[in-house]
């Protein structure tokens, strides 16, 4: 640290070159933060999954409905503390592009199952009393500018009403939010009872069940017990933990992680070249100075440290600025993306990895010139100058 001033002065020896290098690093880490935030959304909220929640779906495919009568049989299974259900509505608001999660649910048990959603008590009560009421997450309310009291028409793509119409109107009774910045609230909930009564077909079925295991029960055993109960019935089930369900769903999109990694790989490879080149140039120009330093009694290790620190310093300045701007941008776009790609989030893990990458890239880029500087023989270097 006592050499900081020397390192700082060295770094700014060629102002344009250092500035340009810092700007390249800045862009690289800006990209890094944006891509990891988007990549995070493709993990589908695995980090926020509750280990005690299980999802029960039809064994053949998620889109096949399950009989509503399964609710009691699942609830009676050993190790099940509570159970609720949801169904896929698949409608849109105004334009077909405006699709988001719309689930007919049982209000009481659904909110009990998801304690991470906070909604004022009086709004929850108002919703329970209003059969045609709905509640939405904060992200969704923001995206479409909805307020409590609004009447919102949703166009159905699957569920025609008994009267033949495709428009379902709901009164917005409440808005819920979550304290967890990683959690998404881009969804809309309404009464299953109303939905089941008003739809033209499909009565007596639900999309999937969500259950909570009792404390201490093994989720894997509970899942097995449920699936074997329905084996060889017309609707066989597949039960998995919330995390496994989210993971397998997101894996359907294909290897997004590979594509993101590839891009970042290309970016960092370029970055290393740019900064490595800068460092070796500046060492080359400074050979006589380094020789003087050594003559003055600086040890090999100190010279190595000084050159390496300079390289790491340049990376850190550019990298932290890039990461900082990335963080600000992510805060801004997360809301805008909420409806079609919920869960855009720059995770603390990504920030730590980013800083590690800065230091790592600094070491890699500076290593070769630093070793060269360390091995410098004073006589040769001074003679060359």
């Amino acid at each position: 640290m006592k050499y900081f001033r020397l390192i700082w002065k060295n770094a700014w020896r060629k102002k344009i070159r250092t500035s340009l290098t810092i700007l390249s690093v800045f862009v690289a880490f800006l990209l890094y933060s944006l891509l990891s935030a988007i990549g995070y959304a493709f993990k589908g909220g695995i980090d926020v999954a509750d280990a005690e929640r299980l999802i029960v779906i039809d064994k053949i495919t998620l889109i096949n409905p399950l009989p509503v009568s399964y609710q009691n049989r699942i609830a009676a299974t050993d190790g099940v503390a509570s159970v609720t259900h949801a169904s896929w509505f698949g409608g849109y608001y105004q334009e077909p592009q405006n699709q988001f999660g719309q689930f007919p649910v049982d209000p009481e048990s659904y909110f009990a199952m998801y304690p991470e959603f906070n909604m004022p008590e009086e709004q929850l009560d108002a919703w329970k009393r209003n059969r045609t009421g709905m509640v939405v997450g904060q992200e969704l309310a923001d995206a479409y500018g909805w307020k409590v009291g609004d009447r919102v028409p949703i166009q159905a793509t699957i569920w025609t009403r008994k009267d033949g119409s495709r428009t379902w109107e709901f009164d917005l009774e409440g808005i819920f939010s979550t304290d967890d910045p990683r959690g998404s609230t881009a969804l809309m909930l309404f009464h299953y009872d109303y939905f089941d009564e008003a739809r033209a077909f499909g009565q007596g079925t639900v999309g999937w069940y969500i259950l909570r295991v009792t404390g201490g029960a093994d989720p894997v055993q509970v899942a097995k017990a449920i699936d074997s109960q329905f084996a060889n019935s017309p609707s066989e089930t597949k039960t998995s933990t919330e995390a496994a369900f989210a993971k397998s769903f997101m894996e359907q999109f294909g290897n997004i992680a590979m594509i993101v990694t590839l891009i970042l790989g290309a970016v960092f490879f370029t970055l290393l070249l740019v900064s490595g080149n800068t460092m070796s140039q500046s060492v080359r120009e400074r050979i006589s100075e380094l020789a003087v330093l050594k003559t003055l009694g600086f040890g090999d290790r100190s010279v190595l440290g000084i050159v390496l620190s300079e390289s790491i310093l340049i990376m850190l300045i550019g990298g932290l600025l890039g990461l900082g701007l990335g963080w600000i941008i992510v805060q801004g776009i997360a809301r805008q993306f909420a409806a079609f790609l919920p869960g855009v989030f720059l995770s603390p893990a990504a920030i730590v990895i980013g800083i590690t990458l800065m230091v790592g890239a600094g070491i890699l880029a500076g290593m070769f010139p630093a070793v060269k500087a360390m091995r410098l023989s004073i006589i040769d270097a001074l003679a060359r100058a």
């Binding site: 344009i16 290098t21 990209l31 359907q252 080149n277």
Partner: protein, 395 residues
């Protein structure tokens, strides 16, 4: 003319000693190559997906679904409604029989080879005319399924992408055992991602009674769609959505294509900005390395303008080499690379190839040239303004 000769002479001199500055030039080249590589790779996904979806769509095939359904999966039609469609105007007839296929579209979980995880694979029940309402679909392996039997034919892409779909093997979905008896080719279109069976068998296996989800008809000609539309949409017993297959598949392609472009273009712009900084760095080094050369030229009477041009040309040329390199790598590595993704609109898997098309490569080269021009301009000004006396003294 003299000025042109001068520019030419200086540029030629400059380019001839380029190999001596290879290290810093390489940085500029590789920086630009990375931009073009990433651009072409990301956008080739959108291109490939679009191609797969659009190859399937022709103007003289109509698809009929329940009004308001955004995809076949959401739709539903009764047998009576199918009969109405069969006798509607505009439908091509072979003798007395309409060329029509009423179909059921469900999805089944099949494991993907690349991830070994379950994926929503489309499973379609078709009628005998399925091959006539679609262009370019032909059986290339095994045989056709027999009506009434639990037999499946699979698309080529599905067979390559998912586990256990080889001809001759069998699959269990729920409580039903299915034999895979053949494989079909559809010219790389979205149909190749599907499994097909007899619609009657599928109705039974999925307890769908006598209902269908979509009807495809071959039209008499490309303008017949208007007659069909008018007749059906005014019929109160059915009033469906009538689309040409082309319209239907462009709609299906839109969401994902837009999403990739929404990510891909800003990404490229950001990377290009980064590459401009890299190129600027290289060109400033190049100018300072050539300091005495430039000063000597100036002392000999060459004008500042020819020095400026020669520097910009050098930078643009380096960027062009980088662009070609990046484009070539993108083409060699990614063109034809097969992946499968979940199309949100149809909620089912679509298998497609990355398509590094000529227009993408051209766009990439444009980006490279812009990076090169920007990266060379400011250093070129410095080169042109180099004080001659001082630069010569620094020797």
């Amino acid at each position: 003319m003299r000025i042109l000769q001068q520019i030419f002479a200086v540029t030629w001199l400059n380019l001839r000693n380029l190999p001596q500055r290879i290290a810093s030039s390489a940085v500029a080249i590789i920086g630009v190559a990375a931009v073009v590589l990433v651009f072409a790779a990301v956008l080739s996904m959108a291109k490939g997906f679009e191609r797969t979806m659009l190859t399937a769509g022709t103007e003289d095939t109509a698809i009929i679904m329940r009004s308001g359904s955004t995809s076949e999966l959401n739709s539903g039609l009764s047998n009576d409604q199918v009969l109405i469609i069969e006798s509607a105007p505009g439908v091509l007839r072979d003798g007395d029989d309409a060329v029509i296929s009423a179909e059921l579209y469900v999805i089944v979980d099949v494991k993907k080879k690349s991830t070994n995880a379950d994926a929503n694979v489309p499973f379609r029940g078709v009628q005998a005319d399925a091959f006539d309402v679609r262009r370019g679909v032909r059986l290339v392996e095994g045989r056709m399924f027999e009506p009434g039997k639990n037999e499946i034919i699979v698309g080529r892409a599905a067979q390559q992408e998912f586990i256990g779909l080889d001809t001759g093997s069998s699959m269990r979905f729920g409580q039903t055992e299915w034999d895979i008896v053949g494989m079909f080719d559809a010219g790389g279109s979205v149909s190749e991602s599907e499994l097909w069976t007899d619609v009657r068998v599928l109705q039974g296996a999925y307890r769908r009674g006598n209902s269908y989800q979509s009807v495809r008809v071959r039209l008499e000609n490309e303008v017949a769609i208007a007659d069909l539309k008018a007749a059906l949409e005014e019929d109160p017993r059915i009033s469906p959505d009538v689309l040409t297959e082309k319209e239907y598949y462009s709609g299906q392609a839109e969401g994902l294509t837009q999403f990739i472009k929404l990510i891909g273009y800003p990404l490229t712009v950001l990377m290009a900005i980064g590459a401009v900084f890299g190129a600027l760095n290289s060109m400033y080094s190049s100018v300072s390395a050539r300091g005495k050369e430039i000063a000597t030229l100036r002392a000999l009477g060459f004008g500042p303008f020819s020095i400026l041009v020669s520097t910009v040309v050098e930078s643009t040329l380096l960027a062009l080499i980088g662009g070609l390199l990046g484009g070539a790598i993108a083409f060699l590595v990614f063109n034809g690379f097969q992946v499968s993704t979940l199309n949100g609109v149809s909620f089912s898997q679509v298998v497609f190839d990355f398509a590094v098309t000529p227009d993408l490569l051209v766009q990439g080269l444009y980006a490279a040239l812009i990076i090169g021009a920007f990266g060379g301009f400011f250093p070129a000004i410095r080169a042109a303004r180099l004080p001659v006396a001082q630069a010569l003294r620094e020797l």
